[in-house]
Amino acid sequence: MSKFKNPNVKKEAKNERKVDENFSYRTVILSAIIAIILLIISILFNGNIVSIVYDDLLLLVAIEIIVKACIILLFFFFMIISVGNYKELTGKPLTWKELIGLFILSLIQSSLDGTVFALTFFGLIFIIIYLYLIQE
């Protein structure tokens, strides 16, 4: 057995780690940008600046509630991906503290509408349970 390590193997491993880091960093950035876009859309809908409801049509009211809740859930989902990868790059795991922080930041976006709040709350719980179950 050779006493010296093959420098090519070391270089390859370093390159592989560099590719992984780049990939993670890109995910952090991309997910954060998507989350920002979703937050802007959330401001428009959940801040009651934009509405798709006219003539108090029940169907449109229902669609708007679902859209409002889905935007917040997607925001939470992409933020979790971004923060999770960020923490991985720093070498630390995602803790309950960050998870609860993101949970609150997402949920308060729906605080102006009781129905959206309830729907978002259960949606967030569902996402957290899903992420907990799929982790190794």
């Binding site: 950035i29 954060a32 937050l39 960020y86 790059l89 605080s111 102006l112």
Partner: protein, 269 residues
């Protein structure tokens, strides 16, 4: 002895009959109903009912009776209240020409919640002549002295109109009665109190002989709604700005941390 008892019984019956007859006055006719006014938009008192007027409330039905046994004239009534005033809409139908082109309606107002005719101190009267011309009268009434006099200063307002509708004439009367103002010649209607109103219908505006039939209603005057302590709209805007600013600050800080991480990775490499 038997003869004496019969006499006493007969005298008692006659006395009871006389006393009962005295009590039967136009004010006591009709079964009273209780109305809780709805707070709504102020109607224009002109005898015309626009589509936007009086829409907040539904009609109640009363029967204006000439005698206690009378079936009565079916009459629809709506009552709306705003901050300072009470508005009453009254409609009924009569056979065309049964009263010519005239019609009079009086609202007698009690200053208590009792049927005692002496408590009815105020009368608002609208007399319609020639279908569309109307006059409003404000009277001070005093049953004790049988004195019915026009007020020196008129308060409130009233209007009326008769519409020919083929098989019947539709009589419409609108009244505006001020609330919470103590007037010497009018009934003082206070908030959160109930008052008896007598609605009398007739042909000529001469009280009481010009009136044919009447009915009582109780109207519960409500306290005007208090303005909300906080403006909900402003509160919502403040809440929205706070919530989304918080999110924005967090995301800004997070982006800053990502940029720092990028620099850190570069340094390590």
């Amino acid at each position: 002895m038997k003869n004496k008892n019969s006499k006493v019984l007969a005298v008692s019956l006659i006395c009871s009959f006389i006393l009962l007859s005295l009590c039967i006055t136009p004010v006591s006719l009709g079964d009273p109903i209780e109305i809780d006014p709805i707070f709504g938009d102020t109607p224009i008192i002109n005898g015309d009912i626009d589509t936007d007027e009086w829409k907040e409330t539904l009609f109640e039905t009363i029967y204006l009776k000439a005698t206690p046994g009378d079936v009565g004239l079916e009459t629809s009534i709506k009552v709306i209240q705003d901050k300072n005033d009470l508005y009453i809409l009254i409609q009924f139908e009569l056979v065309p020409g049964s009263q010519g082109s005239n019609g009079t309606l009086a609202i007698l107002i009690s200053n208590t919640n009792s049927y005692n005719q002496y408590d009815f101190v105020d009368a608002k009267i609208v007399n319609i002549s020639s279908y569309i011309d109307y006059s409003y009268y404000d009277y001070n009434i005093n049953y004790a002295t049988n004195n019915f006099t026009a007020d020196q200063e008129m308060h409130g307002n009233g209007a009326g109109k008769i519409e020919y509708q083929g098989s019947h004439d539709l009589y419409t009367y609108e009244f505006h009665i001020p609330l919470g103002i103590a007037q010497t010649e009018d009934a003082y209607l206070e908030y959160e109190e109930s008052y008896k109103f007598n609605i009398s219908q007739g042909v000529i505006p001469s009280f009481p002989e010009g009136f044919i039939r009447s009915s009582n209603v109780t109207i519960n005057i409500k306290d005007p709604p208090q303005p909300p302590l906080f403006n909900t709209e402003v509160l919502t805007i403040i809440l929205s700005v706070t919530i989304f600013s918080l999110n924005g600050v967090f995301l800004g800080f997070y982006i800053y941390r990502i940029i720092l991480l990028k620099k850190k990775i570069k340094r390590i490499r």
